[in-house]
Amino acid sequence: MKLASIRLNRAGSAAILPAWRSRLVLRVLMFGLVILASRAVYLQEFNKDFLQQQGELRYSRIVEQSVPRGSIKDRHGEILAISAPVKSIWVDPQQIDMTQQAQLRILSEQLGMPWAAVQERVNSNKRFVYLKRRVSPSLAADIAQLNIKGLYFKQEYYRYYPTRELAAHILGFTDIDDKGQEGMELAWQDSLASEYGKRRIIQDRLGRVVDNVERINSPKPGQDLILSIDNKIQYLAYRELARAVKAHRALAGSIVALDTRTGEVLAMANYPAFNPNQRANINKDAIRNRVLVDEFEPGSTLKPFTVAVALETGRVKPDTLLETSAGMMKIGKALIRDVHSKGNLTVSQVIQTSSNVGVAKIAMLLPPQTLWEMLNRAGFGGETGLGFPGEISGKLRDYRSWRPIEQATMSYGHGISINLMQLARAYTLFATGGELKPVTLLKRDQPVVGQRVISRETASAINAMLELAVEPDGTGSRARVNGYRVAGKTGTAHKRLDNQKGYAANRYLSSFVGYAPASDPRVVIAVMIDEPGAGEHFGGSVAAPVFSRVMEGTLRILDMPFDKPWPNLVISPSFSIRKQEG
């Protein structure tokens, strides 16, 4: 009862209070309501996206599924290029807590980045800044131990080339975003490249993935590329080439090996080369795959084609005698000479001794169009179809613009420019009985039928001449290989002057192209050494020995049966066993 009276008292006293007090309270309450309402409107209308996104961030997340770029392998499955998993470190500067400065300093030390550089990135006002790309997985694990807020890892891949400079020119390399920049990496970018997948997931409080909401796009791993290259032959070719270029103090050198049955490129090397694993300091000049992107005047290695077309059209026979005893020949004002005059030569001897006069005489028997057609059909002045980026097709001028002297010089390989691959491919004509095999850098394995350019008879006649050229009294005697019959041709061409007017007197391109075993050819190898500077410059003394060593190893690797007897010191085990039995 007492309580009730007090209440009554209060109510009674309220009645006499001034009216403004209740109005004031009402206004204060209303004001509060307006503030709350406007805040609600503000959050709902203007900040909705941000808040929803923030809420979703707590449980839903889009994760990237990284898949590696396809690897590149040689014909036996040995790895030539592989994408190794690495982590890229990125920060969300908005989330970085500057009270963690001690940890950040350790981070800068571990990454080997100056403190100032780390600070600059961390203080940026973006939401995504790379701190360092491509660190090793073990270093990334150490850094994860630091527990730095706002620091994240992204799975990426680093392209690694285990064979280093050996196959660098074939493979090329990729840039930091895993895009092919040169070579096969560029040519096959579309199939090698992988597509990262994306999916939306739901996470629980501990960051575990509990549900897959949707797959935004599924990951597409890059496809592996199997090349026709044989890593062993490639190594052998590069090693011997590098040795020769250094020994002859040459500017550069190139070598290419083709399988005559399948048209596959077994090896293709250049020196100087570069290490594609260290992309920062790559010399522009060393990147060039000289086999394909450089053109040169082939010199004498082109002579067999002139002779082939002369045989084909029946103008000469292998034993036709030519008047070459003068050792020189005048066409208009120009003079063609031989290094040594060897009297009158037969057509076979012209090839064997590499006589310029002889081959020019043969060329002058032919209409320009016939010679041009032969060279054109042998693939000079046209693309090789390898699809290699930057490949040059060379220059074979239209026969209608030839002057007589040009026809003569072209017959021994001047006034025409080709690349080394074209030269090697053209020699498949003589190695396969007249077919021009289509070449490829991808594993093919099955023999292919080439395009017939010359008859089987002509091809075997040239084959015999090319075998003579490698005999002890031929120009290419140093290309011989123990146990195998070899056919081939040397070439020594004067280099053009830098201004393209005329030829340099003492700068040469030494080359050798040949194939073996001559009884059933399996491999064509072409070697070219640019400006040998250590005294020797003839193709027979600079390029032929490289050919010989690479061919010997290649035939052994391919398990080719010998086709030439030679003295051997081992006694057949079966023979001695039989003796004991008897």
Partner: protein, 87 residues
Amino acid sequence: MTLFLILVISGLGIVTARHEARKLFMAQEKEQALAKQFATERDQLLLEQSTLAMHARVENIARTQLKMVMPAATNVLVIQPGKIRAR
């Protein structure tokens, strides 16, 4: 009343099913992470293998440490199965 009971039961059913699904999903996720880890390891081992098996390195070891030499062509004998039988 029965309807309400069915509702409750089916509701609980959904909850359990959902929970089970998430548990299974997590297990799957874990296995996938493991698979990925193994794939990474495999890549690294492949890389290591190819680095160790570099021809230049193998040749160097064979020649210098193991003192191996290539047999000269004169020391090679070709055995032709057909010929042995014929003799």
